[in-house]
Subunit: 143 residues, 2 copies
Amino acid sequence: MTGTDVEVQLREAGLRVTRQRVAVLSVLHDHPHTDTDTVIRRVREVAGDVSHQAVYDVLRALTDTGLVRRIQPTGSVARYEVRVGDNHHHVVCRSCGAIGDVDCAVGHAPCLTASDPHGFVIDEAEVTYWGICPACAAEAAAS
Amino acid sequence: MTGTDVEVQLREAGLRVTRQRVAVLSVLHDHPHTDTDTVIRRVREVAGDVSHQAVYDVLRALTDTGLVRRIQPTGSVARYEVRVGDNHHHVVCRSCGAIGDVDCAVGHAPCLTASDPHGFVIDEAEVTYWGICPACAAEAAAS
DNA sequence: CGCCCTTTCTGGAACAAATCAAGTCTTTGT
DNA sequence: ACAAAGACTTGATTTGTTCCAGAAAGGGCG
């Protein structure tokens, strides 16, 4: 994704194009599942001085317009990824917190329709798989 | 669940039986999906003075031994519920954050097996449904 | 091209949730 | 009942996030 693509994306979402926003979006494109602190550091690497507040504001603006998705597994800080059309899910390592993408096996799966939602109007089903990542499994086996 | 039941539960988990732990467990039995702050208030109602640190410690101990489950939907503070055998999931209101239980429709559902887990060893699939609760839906319709 | 209005960014402070640390008290096995 | 291990209390600290007021930058219009 080029810088121009990012600009188009911003304009189509009705957002102004600023150095900070372009930087945040491209950082998230290159590094999915990044926590806020890392976003700040990476943004500063590519765009020079940017206040942490600006990054928080941008992340909020992008989340509100649906350009990025915010995820926050239990015990983890907020993480962000660019929202892509597919309905993919995440696998989280219980040991180190690493996150991986998992494609939704069967599109709109039947079991993702709640059996008795107590009157809730449901618009999304989010799946989080918990387990051990290869690296942590190897480390555990070695010790 | 009586106080004695809770004591037995604690002993079987290899934990000492203290006033604070009994209080936390019974509070969670009576009020599922409670956030830490509310747990503290309720515990003090039934057990008198208890430091917030004690509650944090107890919740951590109970979580580590598997007696309670910690859940934390994106944008919410940590919430706790007593771990019951069934593999139920949660529905969260986007508007007010209310949480409801949803039974897992089909036990160990096939679509909860990740298609390509990238080498992760998965031991649990957690489903969070997002939507609008009846109360918030009514309020939105009224305005 | 340059002005003005609106939106956004900066810098600093404030806040809430959660954790850390040292010392005291309590539970429990003998 | 006694000692040792574990749990709790008090108080401070860290961490992640948000609030606020003023300065700066985008982008439509003359």
